[in-house]
């Protein structure tokens, strides 16, 4: 283990190097370009054994990854925003085929208007594609998560996305600890694919057509495989904790034990909010934070257990559903708690679109609001667009 200074992108590229995948097929896109660039250097300097395919689009990037994974290779790529949108079609195909491909992703808003900065609209738009998804809060976690995600993906044959916030994390250099190459290799182990199109003894047809008689059965089996991800993840995360001393639960609770109210947030903002919690705690206020790290599959029982103990919860959504009903995290959170006998009042804060800075005072204001909601026992304003001009 050694201490280094790396940006989120450098941290993910370094984890990729230590994983040493068989094939990386990728296309550069701001702000994830560096991941591909840095990895190209590792390839050029012979530091990895990887076959690097510099494709002509993100669509081809994931298509080539699918081909390489069906061929039995350990496969990774990297992208962001429009790139993920261009991959969208193939995301479903990779998942349906049970290909444990891992994407090092940087969360960036989707056009229009074009904008290169952070929000979560890109990954939220892919939430039904059948990929495991982890939102990271800092460079250290981005590095660690890529390794844990790969292990989980290969154990379950479910592909994974690990994401950081554009620029806020992707381009911010932070201090982190990295493992030795051999520790990473021992942790992930040799890849043993479930099938390979290069297996000449047992020719198979990959990606066949289903009529009405089989499609539903195939999807049901996929959903069942997906349901095993949470346990496999937790096992991988615990094994990783033994190795690194850093444990990342699917859902993180921070100072929630006696809290009356909490913020439910993901990504770098959740990390920032811990600072606000400490500050408010110093003032004697009973506030806490629940951080959504794993978004797919949803750790439903953990979320229910965590959130039902509060009087009020503010969900922080860095994207909107365009349903005129708030952001995706808000909608799903309310859905999860519907059957709970004790449930908090839940409000939504859509914030930070297109990289709009979220200040400590903004987060403090959300705590002020939910304390008010908890005290009044009712919600005055269900959805707030935080930090946008023209809203009061």
């Amino acid at each position: 283990m050694k201490t280094v200074a790396k940006t989120g992108n450098e941290a993910m590229a370094y984890a990729m190097k230590q994983i040493n995948p068989d094939v990386v097929a990728a296309y550069p896109i701001t702000p994830a370009t560096e991941v591909v660039q840095i990895f190209s250097n590792y390839v050029a300097d012979g530091e990895v054994d990887t076959e690097f395919v510099a494709v002509e689009s993100e669509h081809s990037a994931l298509s080539a990854c699918v081909g390489a994974s069906i061929a039995g290779g350990r496969v990774m790529t990297s992208t962001s925003s429009q790139g993920l949108a261009l991959m969208h079609e193939i995301l479903y195909i990779a998942a349906g085929n049970r290909l444990p491909i891992v994407i090092a992703l940087v969360n960036r808003s989707l056009s229009a208007p074009i904008n290169i900065h952070c929000d979560h609209s890109d990954t939220m738009g892919s939430r039904e594609a059948g990929w495991m998804h982890l939102y990271c809060a800092n460079s250290q976690e981005a590095y660690d998560s890529l390794i844990i995600a790969l292990k989980t993906a290969e154990a379950t044959a479910v592909p994974a996305i690990v994401s950081t916030d554009a620029f806020i994390l992707s381009h911010a250099m932070e201090r982190l600890e990295v493992l030795e190459d051999s520790d990473v290799q021992n942790f992930i182990g040799e890849y043993r694919p479930r099938f390979s199109a290069l297996d000449l003894e047992n020719p198979k047809t990959y990606g066949p057509l289903d009529l009405q008689d089989y499609f539903f059965e195939h999807k049901r089996a996929q959903i069942d495989d997906f349901s095993k991800v949470l346990d496999a993840y937790d096992k991988a995360a615990k094994d990783y904790a033994e190795l690194s001393g850093r444990y990342y639960p699917a859902l993180e609770e921070y100072k929630t034990e006696d809290a009356d109210v909490a913020i439910f947030a993901a990504g770098s903002t959740a990390d920032t909010a811990k600072e606000v919690v400490d500050d408010l705690r110093d003032q004697g206020r009973k506030v806490g934070l629940v951080r959504m790290r794993m978004w797919r599959p949803l750790p439903v029982e953990q979320i229910k257990k965590a959130l039902t103990k509060f009087k009020a919860v503010a969900v922080m959504d860095r994207s909107d559903t365009m349903a005129d009903f708030g952001g995706p995290v808000f909608l799903e959170t309310r859905g999860m708690l519907y059957d709970s006998e004790e449930k908090p009042l839940i409000t939504d804060y859509v914030y930070g679109l297109g990289g709009r800075n979220i200040k400590l005072t903004d987060i403090a204001r959300v705590y002020d609001d939910i304390e008010q909601v908890a005290k009044a026992g009712k919600i005055e304003k269900l959805i707030t667009y935080l930090g946008v001009r023209g809203e009061e």
């Binding site: 049970r98 047992n202 198979k204 539903f216 059965e217 069942d224």
Partner: protein, 100 residues
């Protein structure tokens, strides 16, 4: 090999992944009943040029030891290509109406 063909598999019985885990399973699916015209091959007239064999879209011309041995009616859809390209000097294949 975990595929079943005699009945519809449940989702728990499917091979892991989204694949057909053995080759050439379509041989279990007989397309011969699509036919309304039937090619009839005359072994006496056949010169074994193999033109019909290489041109058949359904791999339905049977060959053994470089010689044609007949037509596989399990798969032949009756398109008539074989009869149409059989060299005139041989005319070893005739299309007749399929009697049901």
């Amino acid at each position: 090999m975990s595929m079943k063909f005699d009945k519809l598999m449940t989702w728990k019985e499917l091979p892991a992944g989204c694949l057909i885990d053995e080759p050439s399973t379509s041989l279990r699916f007989k397309t011969g009943d699509w036919r309304s015209m039937r090619p009839v091959w005359d072994s006496e007239k056949c010169i074994h040029c193999l033109f019909c064999w290489i041109s058949c879209p359904d791999s339905a011309i049977k060959v053994e030891n470089e010689k044609i041995t007949g037509i596989d009616y399990n798969y032949c859809k009756g398109c008539g290509i074989c009869a149409s390209i059989c060299p005139p000097k041989a005319s070893a294949i005739e299309m007749i109406r399929e009697e049901k």
